[in-house]
């Protein structure tokens, strides 16, 4: 089934980038050959986790088959090779987000751990009772709960920037919340639940005018747009590997070198120390001081391969492709009577959150699953947003590199079946 209506392009421009070769990209992702309930998989849950290209899978297999060993500690050949690959990945990830140095890239278990690492460090004597951390209504639980734990432990305060009905970050309200007690701004680059792209460069500039550092949750941004942490001026920037077509169990904390080296260690153990006696230990400088224990070696190398994969593509073309999917999806879904899209921010990534009259998101999820369409139904780890709109849950379709308009059509068809069943 194809649509009769051509959606308006969200971003009109005369300098069209070369189109993304989606057919070729799809061939790189083995899982897309899979059938679900006898129907081709339509994977629209990319904001939760993205699929992996052959190149990532191969890079991880190659390490384990060819040179796997622990890093930074062996004099033997394999350890040297593994260390080179591991540190090489760090270097290419640094370039990917244009960090000034690979020493500014700390490997973590994921973005959640990256945020907890910063919260833990700031909580060790760098924040006083009454100090304020500013977050926004758009945050994922991972950028709310660590600060709440800190609040409860230290007596700091949390200030929350509101959003409007369309899901726009209210910049003027944000400015009004910045005060003499604000010690950190921690906001998302792109909302995982609504797709809102926040005015992050302006947010950082305004905070910096008052000498307030800014932590950015970039999980939903790094797979979909070119991120330049230096141009943004971010002090901390966090993201997970698995949403960037890389493996799970690996994420990144970017931190400005001077800031990272002022943070106390996060966990103690091997790898992060310079010397240890029973009386005292001294610690390495960043990033190693934050990487206690044997790291996720294979996963870090896999993330390096994911970054290589992205670098081989044209980011303008990725953005154009995904924006096209977004406007096409919004057009097609709007045809369905009783369907409401939540979040119509002015600047939006390819995430569509919606509800349907008479059908609960969980029921919708089950029904479209039978059509082979994987979407997310739930609160998306962003319950405050659900509360803001007075719903317990939404359905969310989130798009990636390999999705197509034909897949949007399959989603739309499946939603018509929901209508048929629930009438």
């Amino acid at each position: 089934m194809t649509s009769m209506t051509e959606p308006k392009p969200r971003t009109a421009g005369h300098n069209q980038p070369p189109a993304l070769d989606v057919d070729r990209i799809r061939k790189d992702f083995p899982i897309l050959e899979r059938q679900v309930y006898g129907r081709p998989l339509v994977y629209l849950d990319n904001a939760a986790s993205a699929q992996k290209p052959r190149q990532v899978i191969q890079a991880m297999t190659d390490v384990m088959e060819g040179c796997y060993s622990n890093v930074h500690r062996g004099v033997h050949k394999l350890s040297q090779e593994s260390t080179d690959l591991y540190e090489g990945a760090r270097g290419r990830i640094a370039q990917y987000i244009n960090a000034a140095s690979s020493d500014e890239i700390v490997f973590t278990r994921g973005a959640t751990e990256a945020i907890n690492l910063v919260a833990s460090g700031l909580g060790q004597g760098m924040l006083q009772p009454g100090d304020e951390v500013v977050i926004s209504w758009l945050e994922h639980h991972s950028n709310i709960v660590p600060w709440q734990l800190l609040r409860d432990r230290l007596g700091i305060e949390l200030k929350v920037v509101p959003i409007d009905e369309q899901g726009n970050f209210l910049y003027e309200d944000f400015l009004a919340l910045l005060g003499p007690k604000t010690k950190l701004v921690a906001v998302t680059h792109i909302s995982n639940a609504l797709g809102t792209i926040t005015p992050i460069a302006d947010i950082i500039a305004a905070a910096h005018e008052k000498d307030i550092p800014v932590l950015v949750d970039g999980c939903q941004a790094v797979p979909h747009m070119k991120v330049d942490v230096q141009a943004l001026g971010a002090d901390f920037y966090t993201f997970s590997g698995h949403k960037l077509y890389g493996p799970t169990g690996i994420g990144v904390l970017y931190g400005r070198k001077d800031l990272l080296n002022r943070l106390p260690p996060y966990q103690g153990g091997g790898e992060m120390i310079s010397s240890v006696t029973f009386e005292r230990s001294t610690f390495k400088s960043a990033p190693h001081r934050f990487e206690a224990g044997t790291p996720a070696i294979v996963e870090a190398i896999g993330l390096g391969a994911a970054v290589d994969y992205m670098n081989a593509l044209d980011f303008q073309a990725i953005t154009a492709h995904e924006q096209d999917l977004l406007s096409y999806a919004e057009t097609r879904l709007s045809e369905i009577e009783g369907l409401t899209i939540l979040g119509q921010a002015e600047h939006k990534a390819a995430i569509v959150s919606f509800t349907m009259d008479g059908a609960h998101p969980h029921d919708i999820g089950t029904i479209v699953d039978r059509a082979g369409v994987a979407i997310r139904a739930g609160h998306h780890c962003a319950q405050p947003i659900m509360d803001r709109y007075g719903v317990a849950a939404t359905v969310r379709a989130s798009f990636g590199l390999y999705n197509t308009r034909a897949e949007v059509d399959k989603l739309t068809d499946a939603l018509h079946q929901v209508k048929e069943l629930f009438g």
Binding site: H362, D363, A393, Q417, E420
Partner: protein, 152 residues
């Protein structure tokens, strides 16, 4: 595709999901509990009026949930009226088996279990079992005098 789904979404479920019975908050309830499914955010309150002999005189619920959890709650309130506490607990056990175990276990002459059989389709949808059992967990918590329960 719709045929496959009809096993889960039988007419009775669609009907009770859309028009839940006993969907109210009575003033004279003496056992109440709040149930929450953290996975989907579904939330409901179960209200019981249990007399001095341990008989459930009234059973009702309110809340927000999917068709499965709403229909299950609605059917439960109809079935539990007039039951003794221990009968209610036994029904919960048997209903839980119905939702999770092999179909051969479900042969039942019992009218109540027969009515609940419409929900046995969740067996094919393991992630939906918690939807079907949320109201029952909450009812059981209310009988135990526990005010909050989650399906974690």
């Amino acid at each position: 595709m719709l045929d496959e789904l009809r096993d889960l979404y039988q007419e009775v479920i669609l009907d009770h999901g859309k028009n839940p019975r006993n969907f109210r908050h009575p003033e004279d309830a003496n056992r109440t509990a709040h149930g929450f499914n953290p996975m989907c955010g579904d939330t409901l309150f179960v209200y019981l009026k249990v007399d001095e002999k341990g008989v459930i005189q009234d059973c009702s619920f309110m809340g927000k949930g999917c068709a499965i959890s709403t229909a299950s709650a609605s059917l439960m309130t109809e079935i539990l009226k007039g039951k003794k506490e221990d009968e209610a607990r036994t029904l919960f056990e048997r209903f839980h088996q119905l939702c999770t175990e092999d179909p051969s276990a479900e042969e039942s002459e019992d009218d109540d279990m027969e009515r609940l059989e419409v929900l046995s389709g969740v067996r094919e949808f393991p992630v939906r079992v918690k939807c079907a059992t949320l109201a029952w967990h909450t009812m059981s918590a209310a009988l135990d005098g526990q005010e909050e329960v989650t399906t974690e």
